[in-house]
């Protein structure tokens, strides 16, 4: 399929209603794995994506964590990037206009150290051209303050959500951390706080040890585990959350194929995000969409909406 300007837009069967948004595909690029879109523009038609969630963005620029920042693990990788980013102003001035040209829905992933910071970030993005919504990262395991702390307490998770909601007209997606006893409790708190969507999961806190140097490999000691290794864990969390909240859920974690995406949809997600798979295959977000259509054909689903929750009956 092509749009008015002859650009490929993918099959109409992939059209997805995700809360307030109608998307061309249920496959979105996950935060931190797609930069601000520039790097992958040469590898795939950006306009075919359901959306792009940007790298986590803070008020001020951040240098991020000490290297080494990445280490491979079985079917996974640990990262401790530490939310390196140029700060919200530079992102708005220098990065978002590029994405806006492609007409691809942009969701800006936000990171703050206080509810007020989240609110300030959310307010700043209100009305910025090309921005469809924000994703609150209350689940980053690689920063000292904020981040995961908000995602591990129902009260704080709710406060951050409320603060952001009050500050912006944009739809607010809240991204949960898996490192909790009860994901359902956090999901409820976030829903009560007024979130429009929930995305999960962020990475799982993990570690690798350098035997020779006799210390953890990563500069930050710990990192966040992503990739196929975490897929069964993420699927379980999505299953639990989708069975609890009324707002739409976006599944994330180890998706590398159309069948993987289908599993998350069947577990109750309305769309998915793809992260680490991009590093292995820079066309992943579009390939997975095409594979998902093949899965729909094979398993007899006419449209994306029919798959959502199909394994819950």
């Amino acid at each position: 399929m092509q749009d008015a300007e002859g650009q490929p837009v993918g099959s109409p069967r992939l059209i997805t209603q995700l809360g307030p948004w109608q998307l061309r595909s249920p496959i979105l690029a996950a935060s931190g794995c797609f930069g601000y879109g520039r790097e992958y523009a040469a590898y795939l038609p950006l306009q075919r994506l359901g959306g792009i969630v940007t790298k986590g963005t803070s008020l001020k620029p951040r240098l991020g964590d000490l290297p080494p920042r990445m280490v491979e693990t079985p079917a996974g990788m640990l990262n401790a990037i530490g939310l390196q980013n140029p700060g919200i102003e530079t992102v708005i001035q220098a990065e978002l206009p590029f994405l806006h040209r492609y007409g691809v829905p942009v969701i800006v992933n936000l990171y703050g150290t206080t509810p007020e910071e989240y609110a300030e970030l959310a307010a700043r993005l209100d009305g910025v051209e090309g921005v469809w919504g924000i994703e609150l990262n209350i689940s980053c395991p690689n920063v000292a303050a904020g981040g995961i702390l908000f995602g591990q307490s129902p009260i704080l998770a709710r406060q951050v959500t409320e603060a952001a909601k009050r500050a912006t007209h944009l739809p607010v997606m809240v991204k949960l951390s898996p490192n909790v006893t009860s994901i359902v409790e956090i999901a409820r708190a976030v829903e009560d706080g007024g979130a429009d969507l929930i995305s999960l999961t962020n990475t799982f806190r993990g570690m690798a040890i350098d035997l020779h140097r006799r210390r953890p490999v990563l500069g930050n000691l710990s990192g966040g585990l992503s990739g196929p290794a975490i897929r069964p864990l993420a699927l379980q969390l999505v299953w639990e959350v989708a069975g609890t909240v009324q707002i739409p859920v976006v599944g994330i974690g180890g998706i590398v194929s159309g069948d993987d995406a289908a599993a998350f949809l069947m577990a109750g997600a309305s769309a998915v995000q793809v992260g680490t798979a991009q590093f292995i295959d820079p066309t992943a977000c579009v390939r997975i969409a095409d594979e998902l259509e093949a899965t729909m054909n094979r398993e007899g689903f006419a449209q994306i909406a029919d798959m959502v929750g199909a394994a819950r009956q």
């Binding site: 790298k55 991020g64 000490l66 693990t73 990037i81 530490g82």
Partner: protein, 281 residues
């Protein structure tokens, strides 16, 4: 910067523990010495990530990779047979600048850093530069590609144990040449690829002798294309940036950096990275 599939023409050991893979590609394929490919070594997700490998050389319609069979990824790569396909991204990254303003080039390679120097030696000698390869290793057996570098110019060899050539490191060997007045710093350019301690020592040497140097750095890479921010190093800020250090990506702004550019201490001194909230960048 593309995703390509080439056909493996040959993949065989060329020296103890080292393989050369020759891959057929469309004749339009071209690269600049110092650039690398990001190679998929397995269909499975263990190992998960691609592996960065320098392009050792390229000719019309083919290129060569030369790699040491060390860990699991390289072992898997070494099992591929001619006729199978190779999935790669690239050429990626910044090449060595081919400086023609100075007549002499010293190509310093340690360990598995030698392969990219092959194509570089060829390119420089084609431009009429006098090339000297300075190849170091712990022992005689670790010396790589001597016969392949020979045709492009002079060859200096250094072994830590003195089993052949200069007894010491490649950097000490070079130091001795300049120190003895055997080479002229003001006519020279240094190009290097190898382990971190070698690069640091060379950086110091180059700055001390005021020789332009270009160093290729190896950092762990996930995406290889600049999206993930895994592979960063700290670069000294230029005057225009009021001297503030910058975080740069080895895969995009590197792997080749100019001598004097990198803040090596960043690998050891967390203070550069800590409290970044406070750091006015």
């Amino acid at each position: 910067m593309v995703k390509l599939v080439g056909q493996i023409i040959e993949n065989r050991p060329i020296e103890e523990g080292t393989f050369e893979m020759i891959v057929a590609v469309p004749p339009t394929f071209s690269y600049l010495p110092g650039q690398f490919l990001h190679v998929r070594v397995a269909d499975s997700y263990d190992p998960l990530l691609r592996r960065p490998l320098s392009i050792a050389w390229a000719a019309s319609g083919r290129f060569g990779l030369i790699y040491r069979v060390s860990g699991r990824g390289m072992t898997m790569l070494s099992r591929k047979r001619s006729g199978e396909s190779l999935d790669f991204l690239g050429p990626l990254g910044q090449p060595y600048p081919l400086r023609t303003d100075r007549p002499r080039a010293f190509l310093v390679g340690g360990g598995i850093g030698v392969p990219p120097l092959l194509g570089l030696a060829e390119a420089l000698s084609e431009k009429g530069i006098s090339v000297t390869a300075v190849i170091g290793a712990q022992t005689k057996d670790g010396l790589l590609l001597l016969d392949r570098l020979q045709p492009f110019g002079k060859l200096l060899v250094a072994t830590d144990d003195g089993s052949v050539g200069f007894a010491g490191t490649a950097v000490q060997c070079l130091e001795e040449r300049f120190g003895s007045g055997g080479e002229r710093p003001q006519e020279s350019v240094i190009y290097a690829c190898g382990p971190l301690p070698m690069l640091r020592a060379l950086d110091e040497l180059a700055q001390r002798w005021r020789i332009p140097g270009y160093l290729s750095v190896e950092e762990s890479m996930a995406c290889g294309v600049g999206a993930c921010l895994s592979c960063v190093v700290l670069r000294r800020g230029g005057p225009g940036e009021s001297g503030r250090p910058q975080v740069v990506r080895t895969c995009v702004e590197g792997p080749v950096f100019a001598s004097g550019e990198l803040l090596w201490e960043a690998w050891e001194q967390p203070k550069w990275w800590e409290d970044t909230e406070e750091t006015p960048t």
